[in-house]
Symmetry: C2
Subunit: 198 residues, 2 copies
C-alpha cells in the first residue's frame, strides 16, 4: 500500500520511544504534505545530532572541544557531591531548581528487572575510578532515582555497589508535593511526610 | 543549557503534530545516545520522504513516474463514485475494508472554524473540473467526514459546493459500532441507529 520511503520512515520512527506506528504514519504524511524544504530541514535537524558528544565523566551531552560537559568543567561546582540519576531530563529538572552545587552521573533508564545493565555497571565503575583518583572518598552520593518500587530496589543495589566511597549515601526527600492535597496523597507518601516532617 | 544542535532538534520536532517540547527533548537524548549510525539512518528516513509525490487527482501519496497514485491509475476502480475524506490515514482505513470500489479526494484536515481553507477550496475545484471533464455528472459523491459537530457543518458546506455534479451526495452510515454496547452509546448514536435500523 505504501511507497518504500514511507514504509522506511514508519519503521524507523516506530522504534523511537513513545512513538507508535500510528503516530509515525501521521508524521510521515504530515512531512510529505509540508513540502521538500521542510523535509530537508527536519532531516538536517536529526543529522546534526551527530555533532553532540557525551561527557566522559557524567555522560551528559555537550558540544565542547574536549570530553567534558559544561557542568563537569565548571570549577565552581563541588567534586565532593555526586548525584546519580537515570536520564538527561532528570538532570535538567534538578538544574532548574538552581539549588544543587555538585556533579552528576547519568546512569541511563533502569529496567524493571531490578538488575543493572552492563552499560550501567560500566558507568558506576567509571564513577568509582573517578572517586578513587580524587582521594578514595567523597562527602555525599545522592541517589536521585524515582521513588517507585523498582526504583527503590535499584537504589538499594547502587548504594551497596558504592559502599565506602562516600561519607554519606542519601536519597531525595519524600513527602507531599508542593500544590498537592493531603486528601489525595497515597498512604506511603503521607507516611513519609509524617516521618520526615519539617 | 543545551547545545545548538539539540535546541534546533527540539524546535523542529516540537512543531510536528502531537509532539510537544517534552517528547522532542526525550527524542533528542534518545537519538544522541543511540549512536551516530542510528542518527544517520533516522535522518535519511526523513530525507527520503522528498521522493514522495502527491497524486494530481486525489492528492494521496505515491512514488510513480507519472502524476497518479496507484488508486487513481487503477482501471478497475470506478470513476463514477468519489469519496471525500480529510486525511491519508482515513483512506487507508477505508481501503482496509476492501469494500470500496471508487476513487477518493483527500481534502486535508478541517479546521474547527466551519470555513474551508483556500487549499481545500482548490482541491474541491480540481474535483469539479475532473467531473466536468468526465461528462459533468457522476453517480455518487460520498462525504467521508467524521460525524462530529464541525464535521457535520463542513459536510453540509461541501455538499452545497458540489450540488449538481453528482446524482447522489451521501455520507457514511451512523449507528452503534461493531463490538459497541447499547448501554454506553450516546443518545444521538442510538437515535441514528434506531432511524437507520437494518
Amino acid at each position: 500500500m505504501y511507497p518504500e520511503s514511507i514504509k522506511l520512515f514508519i519503521d524507523t520512527f516506530s522504534k523511537l520511544p513513545s512513538i507508535g506506528p500510528r503516530q509515525a504514519t501521521r508524521l510521515a504524511f504530515h512531512l510529505v504534505n509540508s513540502g521538500k524544504a521542510n523535509i530537508e530541514e527536519t532531516s538536517k535537524a536529526v543529522g546534526n545530532l551527530k555533532n553532540i558528544k557525551i561527557c566522559s565523566e557524567c555522560f551528559f551531552i555537550h558540544s565542547n572541544s574536549d570530553n567534558l560537559c559544561n557542568i563537569c568543567r565548571d570549577k565552581n561546582r563541588k567534586n565532593t557531591v555526586v548525584m546519580i540519576i537515570e536520564k538527561e531530563t532528570d538532570l535538567i529538572s534538578i538544574e532548574r531548581t538552581k539549588k544543587y552545587p555538585g556533579k552528576y552521573l547519568i546512569l541511563g533508564e533502569l529496567t524493571k528487572s531490578g538488575v543493572l545493565e552492563s552499560s550501567q555497571k560500566l558507568r558506576l565503575n567509571s564513577l568509582k575510578n573517578l572517586i578513587k583518583n580524587r582521594g578514595g572518598q567523597i562527602d555525599e552520593i545522592i541517589i536521585g532515582i524515582n521513588p517507585t518500587t523498582y526504583g527503590d530496589l535499584n537504589a538499594l543495589l547502587i548504594s551497596k555497589e558504592l559502599q565506602g566511597l562516600s561519607k554519606k549515601i542519601t536519597r531525595l526527600g519524600r513527602g507531599i508535593p508542593t500544590g498537592g492535597e493531603i486528601e489525595f496523597a497515597d498512604e506511603d507518601t503521607l507516611g513519609q511526610a509524617l516521618e520526615r516532617r519539617i
